[in-house]
């Protein structure tokens, strides 16, 4: 069935889209029949009316064509469309809980982590400014996922969505792993894919915390600094253990320092799990651990920040100059029937 036209005057399509309430606040590219057909032309193996899934909170129908309309609006080139489609598959996966992330009071947005050959094929930036602006593929693929969340999922601010503060990543929140410079295996290989697969992993991300460490020149000292940041105020200062998962984006310089001492990504995760521990003082203003926290507190009052090393995802991204990394804590995890990270294969032909 053909996508319905809006039937609204065409003399200023950019204003018309604003009036319809279908943009993220930025001007959108008018999704003409011609532009949408060009977008669909990049995936000739998909039927246009194929239903990828139902997307909450409004249980909209994410068909290939509807997604293409939103991808055009975001400013995507047709060659980006396979990535957007795989991302929408992830949004529609109930394990990811896009519905919950869309209606939460908390600040959160799906962080899209991209791996594999698609990055170079379509010009995704994984070097300097990896989590920032300036690159069409990074900006528009992330934006397309937001427009889909709004226009197909129905998550509109001041509507069904009433997040207290929202999140700047709701414009675009995407990082491509810098696999070429990383000393380790990339995230998608850790998660069971082949190195030459192209994969998108969605993670319900909240804050962004910079870790600045120009001084540490051993793995243990550097990962301790990172652990110190993680052990502090992220998400909920009282929260030991964290009921969410965490993404750690290591810059290439930091990754090199850590790998030089023979540490792997797993060693980083294990060290953080073992060492980020709070000793609950006997007389504390926080009171004794109750409920969930009590389950993870040992008899002597020690509580780890992380429920397991597997609740930490490590990727390497960013420019080769700069001894800074970033911690991105997650929204509510699967542990509390919230969101689990999901990875989807990107089919390119």
């Amino acid at each position: 069935m053909a996508t319905a036209t809006t039937g609204i005057a065409q003399d200023d399509p950019i204003e018309m889209l604003y009036q319809r309430g279908v943009t993220d606040g930025l001007p959108a590219v008018p999704p003409t029949r011609e532009r949408v057909d060009r977008m669909l032309g990049s995936v000739p193996w998909r039927r246009h009316d194929e239903l990828i899934g139902l997307l909450g909170p409004q249980m909209g129908r994410a068909t290939v064509e509807k997604v293409a309309v939103n991808a055009v609006m975001a400013g995507c080139k047709p060659e980006y469309f396979p990535v957007v489609l795989a991302g929408v598959e992830g949004l529609c996966d109930t394990a990811f809980c896009a519905h919950g992330l869309s209606i939460t009071l908390m600040s959160g947005a799906p962080l899209a982590i991209i791996n594999g050959p698609v990055r170079n094929r379509i010009g995704l930036n994984s070097g300097h400014n990896a989590l920032g602006h300036g690159f069409r593929a990074n900006a528009t693929i992330g934006r397309a996922l937001r427009l889909v969340t709004m226009n197909i999922g129905g998550a509109r601010p001041h509507g069904v969505t009433k997040a207290t503060l929202g999140h700047p990543g709701q414009y675009s929140f995407l990082v491509a792993e810098n696999e070429e410079v990383s000393p380790w295996e990339p995230l998608h290989v850790e998660r069971g894919f082949r190195k030459d697969d192209s994969v998108i992993t969605l993670f319900g991300g909240t804050g962004f915390f910079q870790v600045v460490d120009f001084g540490s020149n051993s793995a243990e000292r550097l990962v301790s600094t990172i652990g110190g940041t993680m052990g502090g105020g992220i998400n909920n200062y009282r929260e030991y253990p964290l009921m969410s998962d965490t993404v750690l984006v290591l810059s290439p310089e930091h990754a090199r320092t850590i790998a030089r001492d023979g540490w792997s990504k797993r060693d980083v995760r294990n060290y953080l799990y073992e060492t980020v521990v709070r000793q609950q003082p006997p007389e504390s203003i926080l009171g004794p651990p109750r409920g969930r926290a009590a389950k993870w507190t040992s008899a002597d009052g020690a509580a780890r920040k992380f429920r397991s090393p597997d609740t930490i995802i490590v990727v390497v991204a960013g420019g080769t100059a700069g001894r800074l990394s970033a911690v991105i804590p997650g929204w509510v995890s699967e542990e509390l029937a919230g969101s689990a990270p999901v990875s989807k294969l990107i089919r390119l032909e």
């Binding site: 996508t3 319905a4 036209t5 809006t6 609204i8 065409q10 003399d11 399509p13 018309m16 889209l17 319809r20 279908v22 008018p30 999704p31 003409t32 029949r33 011609e34 949408v36 997307l55 409004q58 249980m59 909209g60 129908r61 994410a62 068909t63 509807k66 309309v69 939103n70 609006m73 809980c97 519905h99 919950g100 939460t104 009071l105 427009l147 226009n151 197909i152 999922g153 129905g154 409920g291 509510v332 509390l336 029937a337 919230g338 969101s339």
Partner: protein, 95 residues
């Protein structure tokens, strides 16, 4: 410009008006469902709601169920059970 602009919206933004459920004339002798949405301490408040409904309004029976978490909707079977077994439903509480 004559090009048609396609519609990016994939959900029904115009919801057809639904009639309100019939009002109960009284709560006395009725069965009330209590759906706990899973925020901490919600059960404490809902226990008190049950007490008041029973003592002050004569509710005869309660069906207490829960969502899997605040982030997820109630299971279909739970929803069906509450609709079929209850005259009214209380759902709560916020965090």
């Amino acid at each position: 410009m004559a090009d048609d602009i396609l519609d990016p919206v994939g959900f029904e933004s115009e919801v057809p008006p639904k009639p309100m459920a019939k009002r109960l004339g009284t709560l006395g002798g009725k069965t009330v469902g209590i759906l706990d949405i899973g925020f901490p301490n919600g059960a404490v408040f809902l226990d008190r709601v049950e007490e008041v409904l029973k003592s002050r309004y004569g509710v005869a029976e309660f069906v207490r169920r829960a969502k899997p978490s605040p982030a997820r909707p109630a299971d279909d079977e739970v929803r069906k059970e509450l609709i079929e077994a209850c005259d009214a439903i209380v759902e709560g509480t916020s965090s």
